[in-house]
Symmetry: C2
Subunit: 340 residues, 2 copies
Amino acid sequence: MGGDYGPAVLLPGLEQLLERRPDIHFLLFGRQEEVIPVLDRLPRLKEKAEFFHCEIAVRMDAKPSQALRQGRWKSSMWRAVEAVKNGEADVCVSAGNTGALMAMSKFCLRTMANIERPAIAAIWPTVRAESIVLDVGATIGADAQQLTDFAILGAGMARALFSIEKPTVGLLNVGVEEIKGQEEVKEAGRMLREAALPTMSYHGFVEGDDIGAGTTDVVVSEGFAGNIALKTAEGTAKQISGYLRSAMRRTLRARIGYLFARDAFRRLREKMDVRKVNGGVFLGLNGIVVKSHGGTDAEGFASAVELGYDMVRNNLLEKISNDLARFHRRIGPDKNKTDA
Amino acid sequence: MGGDYGPAVLLPGLEQLLERRPDIHFLLFGRQEEVIPVLDRLPRLKEKAEFFHCEIAVRMDAKPSQALRQGRWKSSMWRAVEAVKNGEADVCVSAGNTGALMAMSKFCLRTMANIERPAIAAIWPTVRAESIVLDVGATIGADAQQLTDFAILGAGMARALFSIEKPTVGLLNVGVEEIKGQEEVKEAGRMLREAALPTMSYHGFVEGDDIGAGTTDVVVSEGFAGNIALKTAEGTAKQISGYLRSAMRRTLRARIGYLFARDAFRRLREKMDVRKVNGGVFLGLNGIVVKSHGGTDAEGFASAVELGYDMVRNNLLEKISNDLARFHRRIGPDKNKTDA
């Protein structure tokens, strides 16, 4: 029900995805007045989907506490998350209200053993390929233990998605000499180095410009700086696209040049297409939840669902929980804090 | 003496700048073996400059404490900062070691009355024009009082540089609903709203993508997130330039298109040219210090010096200290902490 356009755009995305991933079975939760008319026009999807009517849909502008109060047990968002909890679904994907989705996911799925707080992971296109950046907005001011947990979550995701045996992991820090970096970041670096996990290669600190350069497969940050990095990169990409567009329209010569180089521009647009990397993944919960961008179109929503599909196929949760258990055995029970 | 190329590149930048700003008088501090041969080839600059030989030059990789220990009183960097302190120079510009320059500037110039910690301000090209972003790396984890001080410093710089009577000021925050933002940021917002200063218009919170959109003239952040935002934007711009370059080289059609649209691409490159906005400004000290990018060329160094020139001409320090005094009168002596 979520996103800027609701079922009218999201369901056609699922129909598209079925071409690439014909073995998906969908459980759809929403208001029948809005879903059924769209579904009736998409016979292939209809055949592969079960629909569950829910009277309540969480509003995009609802506060998380409000959404929980009004939507627990019965809203379409809750029931989609609950389907993961009950083992009816392998992954939940929503284009709805991020805060509400995180609140419901935490409440319903709970954090994994050995994890105190969840993280949101983003897939970041880089010069080399793609990297995973987390946390981009779930946890402000993470401590050293939480940062190392994020490193393990992110490395597990990289192993599941990119088929890398031993992904490289960097801790986001500032490189300017006069500030020594946050204490938590330094401590997390020491912990990761000492743990010497077989499932990741700890690279050390990275800076903001290392993200786009693809210096490491995984970049770990607490949620405040991570969110600001993500939004700043999106803003910069938008700004440069704008410059490029206006430069290409300005003169006749530029327009002719544009016509010749049209394929090159198309390629560039594809490279910069955020829809292809749509989907923030909630990590650290007992279940996989993917948050699609609210403003996405059908293709973007299909990417978000596909992302969830790929993680399930590659046993993300199993990888992560093994890695966590191994790490917490290594650092020993005295340093070990677990979720209550 | 600093920067990747030293006097051989920096001095020609000064010679260039004299064409635009013929009333500058330079005090040059450095090692005579390196400076004099270059200066001898630049007669116009030589006429407008006094040279002071300094045996010691702070190394680019020296730690701030090391630089202070070895270079205090006598290094070229120290003596350039000291010239500002003694009133012999209006502004100090260096392309050297950032950490050492900040340490020496703090030690020599001291923070202004009512300011606890300095900030580094960057000029950020936006869709609309340019904005000032601070702190980009001097102060990690600023408290509410320090953030409001940064707001005043940044607004003063905007008034001096952009000739705006009442610049808009935003506090950098995360917009995701489930996290309510850092407490310090919220408290700083309350303080700025209550103070209702006549010299700035407090806009509220802004997110990472608002920086490039030019939503406010000034964006305030503590140094960790601010530094990461700056580096991430630089990285993203570099990444997209790389995509564009390789797209335009890929096919014959694209190359022909490039030839036609060459002027448009030149315009785009100019828009994205970081040299034009070169210079991090140290704010909150009893004197103006500008840090040029170490890897700058002559033109970029000229921009950094010109930035310092413009701020002096527009009475930056006077504006800032009046604003600070007014603000601290408004919030009252009980809330007022001053630098020891």
